[in-house]
């Protein structure tokens, strides 16, 4: 009743329920940019986030790609980490238990080289304390096998989602690649396969060349482009997908301010994830949460979830969210 009462007296309810999970606010941190949730603890309390999506996790430990793995571009960041991670057993043994006391929804991002690996990961993570959902990474551009290769073929996406659906009762957020001709087709395939939500977008495949030497700037040659540079592409994809599916969308791609987060919500996302912006300012997720609250408060919008999709065709814009 507290929530209700606060709303009635002018407070803003930032809580969002999506895929059956209650998130204290809609601002999560994106996979691969927040480690296993505790690296930023010296800087801010991660318990204030809406949820945590941990690093892409594979069955076996992975050392990842050779250095350099990072290269900044205009308003963007190329990374070619290559899914470095300690493997699912270490994650279960060390990282998830350390994260559990926060009491936040934790989504584990999983990546396999083939369907069987994805299935094993899903099974292994099911029932682990603290794990509230799986984010199925079908879109990592930085690995040879699996990753993006799955995510660009609708039939493969549907089949894999369907198989995972049978192996776990955890909600599945299928994470889509923006490197496709028609993201809507892939989104529909994931939904048809039984996805409980969709995450979009992962990084755009890009590269940079060091002109002094005439050599690729990244050890892996190509990398994934993230950051504000890709935001217009990401917002467009959320907007398109939101018109085609019923499941909730977790939007990401260049969110650095509350205004950016609002673009995603208005385009149809229920939740957002902040990634690269952590590197410009580790406090940005907290500033975004505060900014969302302020935006709603200033306009008399009682619940942030009323903003989802207001920019879609046939919807009423911000005015719609202010009513009632």
């Amino acid at each position: 009743m507290t929530g209700r009462r606060r709303a009635a007296t002018g407070g803003v309810d930032l809580g969002v329920t999506a895929a059956g999970i209650r998130f204290p606010n809609p601002v999560l941190v994106a996979s691969g940019t927040f480690g296993y949730g505790l690296d930023y603890t010296g800087i801010f309390d991660p318990g204030r986030l809406g949820g945590i999506i941990v690093k892409g996790t594979t069955l076996a430990p992975r050392a990842g790609n050779p250095a350099p793995r990072l290269c900044e571009t205009p308003a963007g960041l190329l990374n070619a980490v290559g899914l470095e991670n300690p493997g699912v057993e270490a994650v279960i043994a060390h990282h998830l238990p350390a994260l559990a006391p926060l009491g936040l929804p934790v989504l584990v991002n999983i990546a396999g080289e083939n369907e069987a690996e994805y299935e094993k990961l899903a099974e292994r993570l099911t029932g682990q304390p603290g794990v509230r959902a799986l984010e199925v990474n079908l879109s990592c551009p930085n690995v040879r096998k699996g990753g993006m290769a799955f995510g660009t073929d609708p039939a493969a996406v549907e089949r894999l989602t369907r198989r995972l659906r049978k192996r776990t009762n955890l909600p599945l957020f299928v994470k889509l690649s923006p490197n496709v001709t028609d993201v809507v087709e892939i989104a529909r395939a994931a939904e048809a396969g039984g996805a409980d939500g969709l995450s979009l977008v992962n990084t755009l495949l890009g590269m940079a060349i060091e002109v002094e030497t005439g050599r690729p700037a990244l050890g892996n040659v190509t990398g994934g482009l993230s950051g504000p540079a890709i935001r217009p592409v990401a917002v467009r994809m959320v907007y398109q997908v939101a018109q085609a599916v019923k499941v909730p969308i977790l939007g990401s791609g260049g969110i650095s301010t509350s205004s950016d987060a609002l673009e995603f919500l208005m385009a149809g996302a229920s939740l957002v994830a902040v990634g690269t912006a952590l590197f410009a300012d580790p406090l940005s997720p907290l500033k975004i949460i505060a900014g969302l609250e302020e935006f709603c408060r200033d306009r008399g919008i009682r619940r942030v979830d009323r903003l989802t999709g207001v920019a879609l065709p046939g919807r009423g814009g911000v005015a719609e969210a202010c009513r009632g």
């Binding site: 603890t41 010296g42 990842g64 990374n79 300690p86 060390h94 950051g227 410009a280």
Partner: protein, 274 residues
Amino acid sequence: MAAVIREAAALGPGLRAVWLEAPEAAQAAVPGQFVMVEGGPRRITRRPFSVSGIDREQGLIRLLVRVVGPASAWVGGLSPGQPVGLHGPLGRGFTLPPAGACAWVVGGGVGTAPLLFLAAELRRAGGAVWAALGGRTADEVVGADELKRSGAGVAVATEDGSAGERGLVTTLVERRLAGGGPPPATVYACGPRGMLVAVARRALEAGLRCQVSVEERMACGVGACAGCTWPDGRLAPDLALRRLASSREAPGEGGGGGPLRVCRDGPCFEVVRA
């Protein structure tokens, strides 16, 4: 999370000393640690800069900034009173020898920055410090005067002979080793990778311990992004990096296994034979 510039001055062409008001960092920092600093309106990631000195009383830290691109130009160009986004101190610093022990510091270019802080702490603890400083030209040699003032012995080499003797710092180190004086407890080095390799090889050959501070591109600085990993953990095919003991283990490190991340497992490492 934001610091204010107290003082900024040119130390030479393209080299700036920037003092920042950061009381907590000034309290906590140990030599070899770094801070992540905002890179200005054209950059979206912060950049690592070593703490090159502190004034604990006034709550100040000093950065020495070599201008090499947009972020360093912006940081170097800040004026007193301006705020700048910053987090740190981060990473594992050097481990200090027993109080009063003798140490050598070997710096290439702006790599001398963390060694100045280190030398100051060593001198404070009563240790003897000998410094070998190098650069391509005189303009690139950093910190010689400051080290001399602190009472350290200082030798300089430049590739073009415009300061000290013509040649590489390695030559200075070699001669000192050959000189037969009292060996240092540890050789500390920071600078270009080629220099680190050469210095570490010589030190290990001479049976000395060697700690180096290495560089890698960073995004988070706290161990969260895996952007700064050296997957092979090698300084050279024959030289491996080993984590130094740290007074503060970062939470969630899960036992410190796995590939080396420069920001969290370093930037200071012990060099051992591979």
